[in-house]
Symmetry: C2
Subunit: 275 residues, 2 copies
């Protein structure tokens, strides 16, 4: 059985940087708050909780140094934390920060702002804050049809699909007089998805590793399911069933943006030991 | 035989206005220059030549009051005419003027400018002038793929197809970081094309009237040819062959943006008299 790990599997730059910032902060502080889980991966969150990183969902529960995760937060969260006088350790991904700046810029320039993304994703919620909650969040061509304005400005959730984004912009461009578009989709997601598809094409079975609450991992899984003969979505090696590999010659492994490399390596070794 | 004229057939607002401006100018002046034919219709050009409107293709040949046709001209043409001290009667379509302003604005804002249109069309040549000849003219998705820049600004020839425009913008949006798009496509063209298609769907034969050098009439003809059982592209009733109508029950008539209504009416009466 041949086992291959996809290129660009696992942590993206923003997550790697956030983990690095968290590590350095935990060297300095015994206790550190994280506003929301540091990344969408329960294993990593558990590991960091043991190191002193306490996840809170309510800003009022923060009573000490606090880590802003890679997804970023709305501006009023910074204001609240500053009022509290707690130390802010900002691990917002620089690419997300850039999208936030564009969201604010578009509002300042008087555009009706549209955010292309998932309205429930924390990154999008933060973007919304930078538009003073004036933006519409859309994620499909059908929703794009409903946007009515003369001047529309668009910014994206960094982990969205560039193909669907293009189709949404096509719809808007045909009906909006002035359209200003910041394509803030990060190519890490695109590259990871492309590499996963390529590997899935030449694999009998694909293993997709990542938190079940990770949107980008779910997308990877969907791509692999469509392309390879079979695909499994797992968080750890405990979910692996050796029966999956009966008659399988080529196994591909990929992982979402919030999957640490040690976990990918561990699962690779686990599968390798099966046969 | 039922004969129906398509909605929105013939003159668009810009052409009607240009003809009106020419008429008023010819009341004042015995001789008037027109820089290029007033509209893409030989019959109208001939008629106006008799009234004193002299078409010149070379600006150096202008020695008196001059009409700028609805397509507009590049800014250096105004400068040359001003230097000559001749009266300028500007019949540039206001929608074209708006596109010219946007083209200039995009250059001033530092965008790499892309004009969506036909590089040989006089309107596009004028737009190019407003970008100081820095813009690229593209007309297809293949050409869009080749555009390389971080900040791209787009403006259109007013008579282009909105469907193809949308597909070109889709391509650009997927690869350009900042994309500012002015959709300056005039809905007169779109409405005329839609009405022609609808009429062609319920007609056995379509007659498309317009100058053979009119790009928008050619497009109308292509739509009708695809949709109706048969379609003919004519300039005047002289080209009509009564054999076309053998076995035909429903005839549709449409006309390009530069076809005067009296010509549409004349052809309607001519066909009606055939049976």
């Amino acid at each position: 059985m041949i086992i291959e790990i996809a290129e660009n599997a696992g942590f993206c730059y923003g997550v790697m940087r956030a983990i690095d910032i968290a590590n350095r902060a935990l060297d300095k502080h015994n206790k550190l708050y994280s506003f929301g889980p540091i990344i969408h991966n329960p294993q990593v969150v558990d590991e960091y909780e043991k190191k002193g990183l306490k996840v809170v969902e309510d800003i009022d529960k923060v009573n000490g140094p606090v880590l802003i995760r890679s997804h970023g937060v709305a501006p009023e969260i910074y204001e609240k934390l500053e009022k509290k006088g707690v130390e802010i350790i900002d691990a917002t991904c620089p690419f997300v920060k850039e999208a936030q700046r564009y969201a604010k810029q578009l509002v300042d320039e008087g555009y009706r702002v549209v955010i292309f993304g998932d309205k429930d994703h924390p990154e999008v919620k933060a973007h919304l804050g930078y538009t003073k909650y004036t933006a519409s969040v859309i994620n499909s061509e059908n929703e794009a049809v409903k946007i009515k304005a003369t001047r529309v400005g668009v910014v994206c959730q960094t982990t969205q699909s560039v193909e669907r984004f293009g189709r949404v912009i096509e719809v808007l461009s045909k009906k909006i007089r002035e359209l200003k578009v910041f394509n803030t989709i990060c190519d890490a997601t695109d590259k990871r998805q492309k590499a996963a598809r390529e590997l899935a094409e030449r694999s009998d079975l694909m293993i997709v590793i990542g938190g079940k609450n990770s949107a980008n991992t779910r997308k990877l899984y969907e791509i692999c399911k469509e392309t390879a003969k079979s695909a499994y979505y797992i968080e750890t090696e405990k979910e692996i069933d050796s029966k999956w590999f009966n008659g399988v010659e080529k196994v591909g492994i990929t992982a979402g943006a919030s999957t640490p490399s040690y976990l990918i390596r561990r699962i690779y070794e686990f599968v390798k030991a099966l046969k």
